[in-house]
């Protein structure tokens, strides 16, 4: 696994985390809990944006592995 693909897999995990958090935020009946999930989801979104840039950057750095 190249660094690029490792970061990519982490990126997709982050996406799945964000989606799960959103589900839980909607599911919960407790306002406090759903607020916490929403807050975490917002943070995940920021991380995702950052990492998205990094994935693009890495794919430019490793053109030989590009399919």
């Amino acid at each position: 696994m190249t660094v690029g693909s490792q970061v990519k897999s982490c990126f997709s995990s982050l996406k799945s985390i964000e989606a799960s958090l959103e589900t839980l935020a909607l599911q919960s009946n407790e306002i406090e809990a759903s607020e916490a999930f929403k807050k975490a989801q917002a943070i995940m979104k920021e991380i995702k944006q950052d990492l998205d840039q990094q994935v693009i950057f890495l794919s430019q750095e490793e053109p030989q592995y590009k399919q």
């Binding site: 982490c10 839980l24 919960s28 009946n29 407790e30 943070i43």
Partner: protein
């Protein structure tokens, strides 16, 4: 009318009256009865017993007597609700038996409570050493309420400064294989949701003996067929694990890379992820 039929009729009618009277006087455990309720309970029972078997006295005597006793108890209860001093008189007051860790011998004597009685009541509360007690009060019902010293009280999450997710009562949504619509509506869920959740667990509703939904919308079921294994809820533990893994990955990337800009980016985001983890961890347990 033969006597035996009269007895049957009297027994049934008086029993029904007695049942409704007791119900009207409110639901209280037998052990929680105060003096008046205790007396009226005994007397009402006696009146019924006498008039069922004594055919010489007309039945309306029984009704009058029962009504009077019912009214007395009812009025006493009503007055007790309204006035504190009357309540103290009618129902009695609690007596402090242990204060600041010291036994109040005079109060014990006043209540005719022997040292053995005190020790027995404490043992019922799982306290074997009087020195562990800060405060104890003998209730009018004869029960002992005990406040152990702070260091002998069970540890709570407050003492440990652990944040726990609030949890409300779970709702029972399936009983004996049938959906209960009202509790489901309380959680603002519908039958479609329930069907989807049951599909996820791979069970049919006829096979479910009991199904409950907790505050966070997690369905747990008990099946008629105990041989079928129901998967335990995995969504939350899985999410927590994935979050932890991602956080570790980001830290690893930060260590592995030599590009300072990327390093900074990874470090910043791993910190952010840790922050998010701290926020949601209590709710994912």
């Amino acid at each position: 009318m033969p006597d035996w039929i009269q007895i049957v009729i009297r027994a049934f009618s008086l029993l029904i009256i007695l049942f409704f009277m007791t119900k009207w006087l409110g639901t209280k455990q037998l052990s929680q009865l105060n003096i008046f309720e205790y007396i009226s309970g005994v007397v009402l029972g006696g009146i019924v017993a006498i008039h069922v078997s004594t055919l010489d006295s007309p039945i309306y005597f029984a009704l009058i007597a029962m009504f009077i006793w019912f009214m007395i108890t009812y009025l006493v209860e009503l007055l007790s609700l309204k006035s504190k001093s009357f309540r103290n008189f009618a129902q009695g007051k609690g007596t402090v038996v242990i204060q600041n860790g010291k036994i109040m011998e005079d109060n014990l004597k006043k209540e005719h409570f022997s040292t053995d009685d005190l020790l027995e009541s404490l043992r019922e509360k799982n306290i074997f050493k009087v020195a562990d007690v800060e405060f104890a009060l003998l209730e009018p019902t004869g029960k002992l309420s005990v406040l152990p010293k702070k260091e002998n009280q069970p540890l709570t999450s407050k003492d440990l400064n652990i944040k726990l997710a609030p949890e409300r009562e779970p709702q029972t949504v399936i009983m004996d294989g049938k959906v209960l619509l009202e509790p489901l509506a309380n959680l603002s869920l519908n039958t479609n949701w329930l069907e989807t959740e049951l599909d996820k667990l791979n069970v049919s509703i006829e096979n479910v003996f009991l199904g409950q939904v907790d505050t966070h919308g997690q369905l747990t079921v008990d099946l008629y067929d105990d041989k079928i294994a129901v998967p335990s809820p995995t969504q939350k533990p899985l999410l927590l694990a994935t979050m932890k893994k991602c956080q570790a990955d980001l830290e690893l990337f930060a260590l592995a890379t030599e590009n300072t800009q990327s390093k900074q980016l990874y470090e910043k985001n791993s910190k952010k992820l840790q922050e998010a983890l701290n926020i949601v961890e209590p709710y994912l347990k």
